[in-house]
């Protein structure tokens, strides 16, 4: 009895700290969302769920949400499929394995802003290497459809190595003996993959999915740099508003209710 009491009091500081830095802000943000505030005019009014109601009727919000969901699901699915294939390939023994593994990681190691800028040039209509190699002339970042998929492609290129390296680590902890036993029982490659590799890799896959889904859902920098957040091209009119609101103290109110909306920026 005494022992557990002591234990609790040791954990208490950590719990308090967590409470202050995570639980309090979450509650406070929710509290703020029930208010309309304009700091410069000293306006602060309780409005209930009005802000949410407004968002639910705002087509920019739904557009942004749909774009975010599309971006997340497509990019994470592709990354998982590609990452798993690469991980399986790279866990086979071959020469220069270490070197190849290091090379594969390069896209992940490049700072996002740099790689986004690089892709902006790759996608350039007139001077971009993509159009040059394909021998066509598509304005990749000019139309909503292509811009969105170009952003997805860039994200897949950048984060597949991350997925691959995590899955590779997962593959390494699967005991060799199980594979040997399966072979002795006469299991083929596909059966081994489906019955052994996949189930034993599941915990790691789950972790990868959580990481990647969260990351993709809140992506900002990559898309902002790639398409300028829609600043230059009127086609991407939606993202501009929230990014500007952020930089403008006078519209703290707008900024506030765009805090939920900031994913809108990825409306490529």
């Amino acid at each position: 009895m005494r022992g557990t009491d002591r234990g609790n009091s040791f954990v208490l500081p950590a719990l308090l700290l967590l409470g202050i830095i995570t639980i309090y802000p979450v509650i406070y943000v929710f509290y703020l969302s029930l208010h309309r505030r304009l700091l410069i005019f000293d306006i602060s009014r309780y409005v209930g769920f009005d802000n949410y109601l407004f968002l639910s009727k705002d087509d920019r919000f739904w557009n942004a949400l749909w774009n975010t969901v599309y971006f997340t699901s497509v990019s994470v699915a592709l990354e998982l499929a590609l990452g798993l294939s690469i991980a399986l390939l790279l866990s086979r023994p071959f020469r220069f394995k270490g070197v190849v593994r290091a090379i594969v990681l390069i896209p992940w190691a490049i700072p996002t802003v740099v790689s986004a800028k690089m892709w902006e040039w790759i996608y350039n209509t007139d001077f971009g290497i993509l159009n040059f190699l394909l021998g066509i002339k598509i304005n990749w970042l000019g139309s909503p459809f292509w811009a969105m998929n170009s952003a997805v492609f860039m994200d897949v290129w950048k984060t597949t190595p991350f997925v691959a390296i995590l899955l590779m680590a997962g593959l390494q902890v699967i005991p060799r003996e199980i594979y040997q036993a399966a072979r002795i029982d006469g299991a083929g490659g596909w059966a081994v993959f489906r019955r052994i590799t996949l189930p034993l890799l599941k915990p790691v896959i789950l972790v990868v999915l959580i990481f990647r889904t969260l990351d993709a859902f809140r992506v900002f920098d990559a898309v902002y740099v790639l398409t300028g957040g829609g600043r230059q091209t009127p086609q991407r009119h939606c993202p501009y508003t929230p990014t500007r609101s952020f930089s403008r103290p006078s519209s703290s109110d707008t900024a506030q209710h765009y805090r939920w909306l900031y994913s809108c920026v990825q409306e490529a």
Partner: protein, 420 residues
């Protein structure tokens, strides 16, 4: 080892002597004046401030803010919300005054501009600096949208400058069919404040508006028609090249200035550049008020800058004196003659010296008389952020004018609801 300490000691004394408070104790007051970049040569402007210093014994420290007006706005908001007294006089874009006044950052200057003196100024700027019937800034210089046209080309085909938008379309279409490689009509359509200025001119010249008695009225048949007309000039009549949807003032000025366009909407500043030695269009440019829709009045969007006094200033009287001096007829005349700032006082448009030096200025009187301020509201800066993307979507054909204005209407209503 003694010497360095003496030198640093002296330096400290010198530095102290330079701070405002020390100077004040000796009876010399320093006023800090924040403003955007002075166009062209800064020398005449400094001479004007020197003149003020000699006259009043008040020292003026003028400090230039970053070039972009958005950054200037941000500077003021951050510093004034923090009750900064680091500056006394501030120059403000015409759309900021109600916001700053509502936030309580500006001294009431009604005393400097009594009711009787207000008709010495153009009505637009007076409306823009008045909030709750009090005056919070004095109009310093003025701007308004104009229609530039190529005189000699219109003459060649026997056209006169258009009075209605429809006439402009017909004139441009006819001349474009005769002259190859000439754009018909260019304006500013990028997603930025200038787009709102442009669109308002069509909305107003069709009898529409954004706010009426504090209520949002942007979703109206007149406004839809006006916005559709702008889109039609690009997509239907093809007198406006799609490049305007990403153009601001300078690109359009360059295109027109190199002789590649028949009509252009722009601010008065472009005129002096067209008339410079070596300009391909020198002597070939005419200027007139913007066209309107049939049976309606022409309207141009008011621009320009106003001077106000920081509420937290330690020297409000001295600051007021500087504002009074810089907006006086003499100072406005000097600034008009030297750096081309257009006076806000209407009597100067009959001034002999000014007309002799700049004959163009007399013709601006009618335009400035009719210039209308953008919706005068403390919430304008929020409203324009709503309008810019919607209007941009409409003129580039991503949304229909109905959809864009319907959405803008709902968002503006939501913004204004905060006051209820």
């Amino acid at each position: 080892m003694l010497k360095p300490s003496i030198i640093s000691g002296l330096l400290i004394v010198l530095l102290c002597a330079c701070t405002a408070r020390e100077v004040e104790e000796k009876g010399i007051i320093t006023v800090v004046f924040k403003h955007g970049k002075i166009a062209g040569d800064p020398e005449p402007f400094r001479r004007l401030l020197d003149q003020f210093e000699r006259k009043t014994g008040i020292k003026v420290k003028d400090e230039t803010l970053p070039a972009s007006t958005d950054e200037q706005h941000q500077f003021y908001v951050i510093n004034l919300e923090g009750k900064s007294s680091d500056f006394d006089v501030l120059s403000m874009d015409v759309i900021w005054v109600p916001e700053f006044a509502r936030a309580g950052w500006l001294s009431d200057l009604s005393g400097l501009l009594p009711e009787s003196a207000r008709n010495e100024f153009f009505p637009g700027p007076i409306q823009a600096v008045t909030y709750n019937e009090r005056v919070y800034a004095i109009p310093w210089y003025i701007d308004a949208g104009l229609l530039y046209y190529r005189k000699e080309i219109l003459d060649k085909y026997g056209f006169s400058p258009p009075k209605t938008w429809q006439e402009l379309v017909e004139t441009a279409r006819y001349i474009m069919s005769m002259e190859r490689g000439l754009y018909g009509f260019i304006w500013q359509g990028k997603q930025y404040e200038g787009l709102v200025c442009n669109v308002l001119e069509y909305i107003w010249s069709n009898g529409g508006d954004v706010l009426d008695d504090g209520k949002a009225v942007i979703y109206s048949p007149e406004n839809i028609e006006a916005l559709r007309f702008m889109r039609d000039m690009i997509a239907e009549y093809k007198i406006t090249p799609p490049l305007v949807t990403t153009a601001i003032e300078e690109p359009t000025r360059h295109i027109f200035g190199s002789g590649k366009a028949l009509f252009m909407r722009n601010w008065p500043y472009a005129w002096n550049i067209f008339e410079r030695e070596g300009s391909p269009v020198k002597g070939k440019v005419g200027v007139t008020t913007l066209p309107s829709f049939p049976g309606k009045d022409s309207a141009s969007t008011l621009g320009g800058w106003q001077l106000g006094v920081n509420r937290y200033s330690r020297n409000p009287e001295a600051a007021e004196k500087l504002v009074n001096f810089l907006t006086s007829p003499e100072a406005q005349k000097t600034l008009a003659l030297t750096i081309g700032y257009k006076p806000t006082r209407n009597s100067l448009y009959r001034d002999r010296d000014l007309i002799r030096e700049q004959p163009f200025i007399a013709g601006l009187y009618d335009v400035f008389m009719k210039a209308r301020p953008r919706p005068v509201s403390p919430y304008y800066m929020m409203m324009t952020q709503v309008m810019q993307p919607e209007l941009s979507a409409a003129i580039s054909g991503i949304k229909s004018p109905e959809e864009a204005l319907d959405s803008a209407q709902k968002q503006i209503e939501y913004i204004l609801k905060v006051e209820e």
